[in-house]
């Protein structure tokens, strides 16, 4: 039958791959797995080549019933996983058969579990990607989160790693109480007073309930903007600028008291001053920080940002060698 049955969708579980590049200029964000590191490892363990479509859950994972033999792997947020009621390890290649049910218990740390299934999720491609983008209802499974009763098609399984193949300890992510995010300060940071920028970087920010794939709203301090005469076309609020493009990972501070980090499904532009950008490698950490979690921003430069990305990719490459021998 080549499909997996959804017995429960969990809180918000979507099909994601590496994202839909090349349409930012019309206002379409790339979507794609938010924690690229965990997503990549899930696919490695399921024996899928490259960034194959997998499931990204949020806080509460789905319940999935298999209709054929597959290799599956759960990575990302630390949670209890069961296969047909028996406890099963995360970060390991698991073998399941027809009628087996993958389930999730309570979340222990992190925010987003990833589930990769050998053969991948064979939903139709939209503009060369299977990633879900809910705002316009495109990609993924019907452009929406999974719900009870859905039957998601699966692709032809390749040659998966041996059952029990597991990720060595040193490759597992950590979930610190305060998550440190490297930030390239800039863009429209001239709108902040010097003290405001220092205070922004000194503050430990708490993630509010408004934290999803579009962006994270934070709380914890107040930020002052430089007084100015309003430039023509900018709008009257001190946080406003003439509408411009927003980088993914950029931080804006509407109202001066609730910074927002824009993420994979974000708006691509608008009229709020952006003050810096979280480096791409650290978006993995944002993805695993949930509502009620804490983040801090550490200023860094563009060379370190590029280096951080290379380091993450090199680390994944090393793991690939370890797992495939």
């Amino acid at each position: 039958m080549n499909e997996v049955l959804v017995r429960s969708g969990g809180l918000y579980t979507t099909v994601q791959d590496a994202g839909r590049d090349g349409h930012y200029a019309i206002g379409m964000p790339p979507s794609g797995a938010m924690d690229r590191y965990s997503f990549t490892i899930a696919n490695l363990l399921a024996g899928n080549p490259g960034p194959t479509a997998a499931l990204e859950a949020t806080y509460l994972g789905p319940e999935l019933e298999f209709t054929d033999s597959r290799t599956v792997a759960v990575t990302g947020a630390d949670c209890s996983v069961t296969v047909s009621g028996a406890s099963a390890p995360m970060w390991m290649s698991l073998r399941v058969g027809p009628g087996d049910v993958l389930g999730f218990g309570p979340l222990k740390a992190g925010a987003r579990p990833y589930v990769a299934i050998s053969g991948g999720l064979d939903v139709p491609e939209y503009l060369n990607s299977r990633s879900t983008y809910k705002l316009t209802g495109i990609g993924g499974f019907g452009g929406r989160a999974l719900a009870e009763g859905d039957r998601v098609p699966l692709g032809q399984a390749q040659d998966p790693p041996a059952e029990g193949t597991t990720v060595p300890e040193e490759f597992l992510p950590e979930f610190p109480d305060v998550v440190e995010l490297r930030l390239v300060v800039g863009l429209c940071s001239y709108r902040l007073t010097e003290n405001a920028l220092d205070s922004f970087l000194d503050t430990t920010w708490k993630v509010t309930k408004d934290a999803d794939r579009i962006g994270y709203r934070l709380r914890g301090g107040t930020i002052d903007f430089v007084e100015r005469e309003q430039p023509f076309g900018a709008g009257s609020d001190p946080a406003n600028v003439v509408d411009l493009g927003y980088p993914i990972g950029s931080v804006q501070i509407p109202g001066g008291n609730e910074p927002i980090i824009l993420l994979n499904d974000a708006v691509t532009g608008g009229g709020y001053a952006t003050v810096g950008t979280v480096v791409s490698a650290d978006r993995d950490r944002v993805a695993q920080t949930g509502t009620g979690g804490y983040v801090r921003f550490n200023a860094t430069d563009v060379d370190s940002a590029v280096q951080a990305r290379q380091d993450r990719d090199a680390w994944l490459h090393k793991l690939r060698t370890v797992l495939t021998g």
Binding site: Y12, Y59, P106, A211, D212, T291, G292
Partner: protein, 79 residues
């Protein structure tokens, strides 16, 4: 006595809307599947249902409090 924990982080509500009465008061009895509270996160209100039967002895959180995943929300005297 046992404690029911939140499965989601967010904001905890004991009533369907600010003007309405709580789903259940302390001292009330619950059955499995009965709605006892809501947790708001990612712009949705998610139902918190009892997973056991018994008498609600104490709510550990107030209406509108922030809640973390795994945090205790209500104590139940199991029948």
């Amino acid at each position: 006595m046992s404690t029911m924990n939140a499965q989601l982080p967010g904001v905890f509500y004991r009533r369907p809307s600010p003007e309405q009465a709580p789903f259940i008061e302390e001292g009330g009895t619950v059955e499995p599947g009965q709605l006892v509270a809501l947790i708001e996160v990612m712009k949705t209100f998610n139902e918190v249902k009892a997973d056991r039967s018994g008498i609600i002895s104490k709510f550990l959180l107030g209406d509108g409090d922030e809640v973390e995943a795994g945090q205790g929300i209500v104590e139940v005297d199991e029948a």
